[in-house]
């Protein structure tokens, strides 16, 4: 579904991503793990067209998307849940979710989706009228995921959904991510919490200083001595 070939991202003269190639199949959850500064977020931003790639190609559903403007991505079916959540702080929870469905006009289905998301995250329903900026970090993460789902994407890109959250909240968020993936959603997940990411996904890629150094089934990566030493703290 997603084919990344030779993708490069540079900030000025500094290469953040050096020609990486990977793919995500339909219905699969794939984890991209690595240390801080390995280039994971830059990779995701380049795929979602928030950043211009310095080189390489990205194909989504067979279509080359390397030159598509960022606001056209959601209509193509690709939704990014950005690092740091990026909720609109002075819009209400309901308005944030409505923004997620900004490009859609099928009102009845939008309402069904809204109910489904409130089903995943009852807390959001309780706080429907509250300004998003007043939510806790975990609630904001729920909102960011819910908002992305409101666009009815074919594929979800998640950037560090566990960042800065208490362990209980992390579990709650990942429960929903797994539930969403179980509905057949294709997911590319970026995480510093490598164990959690590999436990939730089918395949994984390990990124180091802008390059993919290791790949395989998540279960085998979990057993890999190099991964265990570098990312699982063993």
């Amino acid at each position: 579904m997603l084919e990344v070939t030779g993708l490069r991202v540079a900030y000025g003269g500094i290469q953040a991503v050096r020609s990486i190639t990977f793919h995500v199949n339909q219905g699969e959850m794939v984890a991209l793990i690595g240390a801080n500064g390995a280039g994971k977020t830059s990779t995701l931003k380049a795929i979602a067209r928030v950043l211009d790639a310095a080189g390489g190609d990205v194909h989504f559903c067979g279509e080359k998307i390397t030159r598509v403007p960022p606001h056209a991505m959601i209509s193509k079916g690709l939704a990014l849940v950005p690092e740091g959540r990026g909720v609109f702080p002075r819009l209400s929870v309901a308005e944030n979710l409505a923004m997620g469905a900004f490009v859609r006009h099928d009102k009845a289905v939008i309402n069904d989706d809204l109910e489904r998301i409130y089903g995943y995250f009852p807390r959001l329903k309780e706080r429907e009228k509250q300004l998003a900026g007043t939510l806790s970090g975990g609630e904001q993460q729920m909102l960011a995921i819910g908002r992305a789902l409101m666009g009815r994407p074919k594929m979800l890109l998640l950037d560090e959904p566990s960042m800065g959250l208490a362990p209980l909240m992390v579990n709650k968020i990942f429960e929903v991510i797994r539930a969403v993936a179980a509905t057949g959603m294709t997911v590319l997940l970026i995480e510093q919490n490598a164990r959690l990411a590999l436990q939730s996904s089918q395949r994984g890629y390990v990124m180091e200083s802008g390059e993919i150094t290791l790949t395989g089934a998540s279960a085998s990566l979990l057993d890999d001595p190099k991964v265990r030493a570098a990312y699982l703290g063993e």
């Binding site: 979602a48 928030v50 403007p69 960022p70 606001h71 056209a72 991505m73 959601i74 209509s75 939704a79 990014l80 950005p82 740091g84 959540r85 990026g86 909720v87 609109f88 702080p89 002075r90 819009l91 308005e95 409505a98 923004m99 997620g100 900004f102 490009v103 300004l131 998003a132 900026g133 007043t134 939510l135 970090g137 908002r147 666009g151 800065g164």
Partner: protein, 307 residues
Amino acid sequence: MDIFLQQIINGLVQGSIYALVALGYTMVYGIMGLINFAHGEVVMIGTLVTISVAGFLIKAGMPVMFAGLAGLTVSVLVCMALGWGLERVAYRPLRNAPRLTPLITAIGMSIVLQNVAMIIWGRNYLTFPALLPSVAFEFAGAHFTAVQVIIVLVSALTMLALLFLIYRTRLGMAMRATSQNPAVASLMGVNINRVIAAAFIIGSALGALAGVMVGTYYEIAHYQMGFMLGLKAFTAAVLGGIGNLAGAMLGGILLGLIEALGAGYIGDLTGGFLGSHYQDIFAFLVLIVVLMFKPSGLFGEKTGDRA
């Protein structure tokens, strides 16, 4: 007491005009963090276009009221096009430049527009045609005219319409989202360029309306009239908290009242040393005081950005 009520009325009228102009500053600032110093000149163009169009139509024998409405319509359309053009030509190429660059460009555009207006309309003061019948009323010793009532009513209705647009429509929600986080808004499918253009176009339409009001009220216009008006409206926007719509409205009204009351009493307060023609100092006193003690203004954004 008579003078107090009189000055309140004058202040409300002047304040309504400031508020409409201030909204143009605040909408653009709220969305892209730019102070569009050319906005005062958009207002000026609005006044001068109305003079030309309405003047021509009146000469051609059209009833004054219709000529006025036609002048207003043309001037709103011209200013919307001008606002759109300014953004497209002067500001969009600088979208990623350091913040000082578009600010200097804005001052440059202001000078360009003044000179273009001088070339088209000349250096002399122009008389604004009397579009509304001069009916006067008296209330508790204070005098006011139909023009003043219409100015206050029309600006109030316009501001309500703007609030509806911003808080109840899809475009308005996109504008609010863009002002809070443009990158994420574009992830939601919002075309940021369109939202920014909309802010300029709507702000300029309000400016044109304010320009027609200024012309109707003072019955005189000049190619440099936008400068002082723009500065004062900017002060009003800062007073209310720049970027905040309600703030611009309240700031405009407050500034109008402060100026009017200041002008009314400055003679008494200084024992006749300073006359009411010193009224301009109040606006800038307000600006200095706000910047010193509450730079975020009355409704300055301070909550809700917890990460």
